[in-house]
Symmetry: C2
């Protein structure tokens, strides 16, 4: 078991996160540090459905930290119903992005507030408070950024690829539409300024973590944090050559990389100080150290709440321990 | 039992309708005439909730004609669930206007299409087609009109008064915000041009029927129809001095009228040729005839599908029979 926080501790830990893996690690961190965890979440997978703004990674983190996430699906809310979706289907709406009834309420509230001119960051904060989330979730930016993937059929919106096409097409390239106008919010900047450590979740390095780092001010804030001694600790979402969730393994290969912990580590060269890999991948430790990172080998698979807290504790240990 | 349509018949019957009473009569007419019924529905009770446009009278008619209306409540859909509403409440939204999960889908689709610039009339038509409605439902206008009622606490939006305050405040005056910019749609104009008869539902004469007649082109179209021989047949929604549904009886009194069939008939002086009253109110026939209308006395309470078809048949008879 990793270290537990002392009550006198007042450090701020920033986590860069995508969806499921990010949410689980965030949950483990919240168990240790409560409101001292700040999760900067990818919003480049946002998508408009039925005129509503859906923010899948954000909401997975939100629902997970609120303790209402559906544990089987990797998205949505526990005990969710789909009455509205059935009616949307009757109205001839495309329902490949299936929205549950409770989840729909989130998108309705978000969209109504956006149309009134509220900032995504403020909306998110209120959703968190309403659901009793202890940690702080910050959208990576208040601007609209959309990941697009190049396939043999041309450029596709991310959710088109991810949900509608079940991640089947090979991803030949990536781009983040709107990224040139995206800047870090004051809240994100402030969190990085006070961060005692920055953790990078076992999320997809290309479509979850890279968009976050591509927002103007975030990688710079992270490097400034490093330069004043805060460590950046990343963890591989590839274990034994397979992605724990999603298409990261195939994406690594189709983008000319290696589907391995080493392949992931290479994405964080010059960014991460410590790289956490699973015991299964211990053989890659040397190659990863050669990239200039300290390697921690542990059990990285978060199968339950204890597993989430354990990995979170290990990463906090790695961040705080003198090298 | 009223007359049944002959298969060679090709008349068009236009119904002016509000919510529940209008929906029931529309349903009875649809049973007789199918697609030859055109329902011009009040949209001045529309309201924006959670950023979505809700159209209560329209949707009551829509759901009733589609056979999915909730028969107990007078609004909403049979077997409706409220998972989204519970979540909206958790998010701190005001939920005095309670939206069911399936119903919410209607408002989501409508709002998305409105924001894309589609006309309310076209949106409504597609909703009807999706739900297999045979009759034609036409919003009274594509413009935004909002009924407001004057109470001791000042002017209130109609649903504020109707739903939030349970119709408790006395209504001292009425106005239809936006009515000066509302014109009849080409579809409404065309329906009145070919109408063989115009029926007025047992809906609230002040807040359901009057807004329809106040739309530029509708009363004129109705009078043109009369001048070429089409009859206008109205029916009282007040039976034995009580409104069958809603606050029409109290509204008649607080607006200085009489809560009776006669009080309703006075609202249609110069508009209706025939006025249908319940047997309970037979004693008022003479006074109503003195207003210049032929009176038909019958059972006007639509307790079931047969009752709806029966009243519809009586009104069709009254419309078509030589005086």
């Amino acid at each position: 078991m990793g270290r537990m926080p002392s009550s006198s501790s007042s450090e701020t830990i920033v986590l860069l996160a995508g969806g499921v893996g990010g949410a689980k690690l965030a949950d483990g961190l919240q168990a240790h540090l409560g409101s001292r965890v700040v999760v900067i979440v990818n919003t480049a997978d946002d998508v408009e459905r039925h005129g509503l703004l859906v923010s899948p990674d954000h909401d997975t983190v939100l629902y997970t930290l609120a303790g209402i996430a559906n544990r089987e699906w990797g998205w949505g809310i526990e005990g969710e119903t789909f009455a509205a979706a059935g009616m949307l289907e009757r109205y001839g709406e495309e329902t490949w992005f299936r929205l549950g009834d409770r989840d729909l309420a989130t998108h309705v509230v978000r969209t109504a507030r956006l149309r009134r001119g509220d900032r995504p960051t403020d909306i998110s904060r209120d959703l968190q408070r309403s659901l009793g989330v202890e940690a702080v979730i910050l959208p990576m930016t208040d601007a609209s950024v959309r990941t697009e993937v190049l396939t043999d059929d041309g450029w596709l919106g991310f959710q088109d690829y991810f949900v509608r096409l079940h991640q089947e097409p090979a991803v030949l390239d990536l781009r983040f539409a709107g990224i040139e106008d995206a800047i870090a919010t004051p809240e994100v900047v402030a969190a990085l300024e006070v961060a005692d450590a920055v953790l990078i979740a076992p999320s997809n390095p290309f479509v979850s973590v890279r968009p976050i780092l591509a927002v103007e001010g975030i990688e710079a804030g992270l490097q400034t944090a490093r330069s004043r001694g805060a460590r950046v600790v990343a963890v591989s979402g590839i274990v034994g050559g397979k992605a724990l969730k999603g298409p990261a393994d195939r994406m690594l290969v189709s983008l000319g990389q290696e589907a391995s912990a080493l392949g992931v580590a290479r994405q964080y060269t010059g960014i991460a100080d410590v790289f956490v890999i699973d015991s299964l991948d211990a053989g890659q430790a040397g190659a990863i150290e050669a990239l200039g990172m300290r390697v921690v080998v542990t059990d990285t698979v978060m199968t339950d709440a204890a597993g989430r807290a354990r990995l979170a504790g290990e990463m906090l240990d790695a961040a705080m321990k003198g090298s």
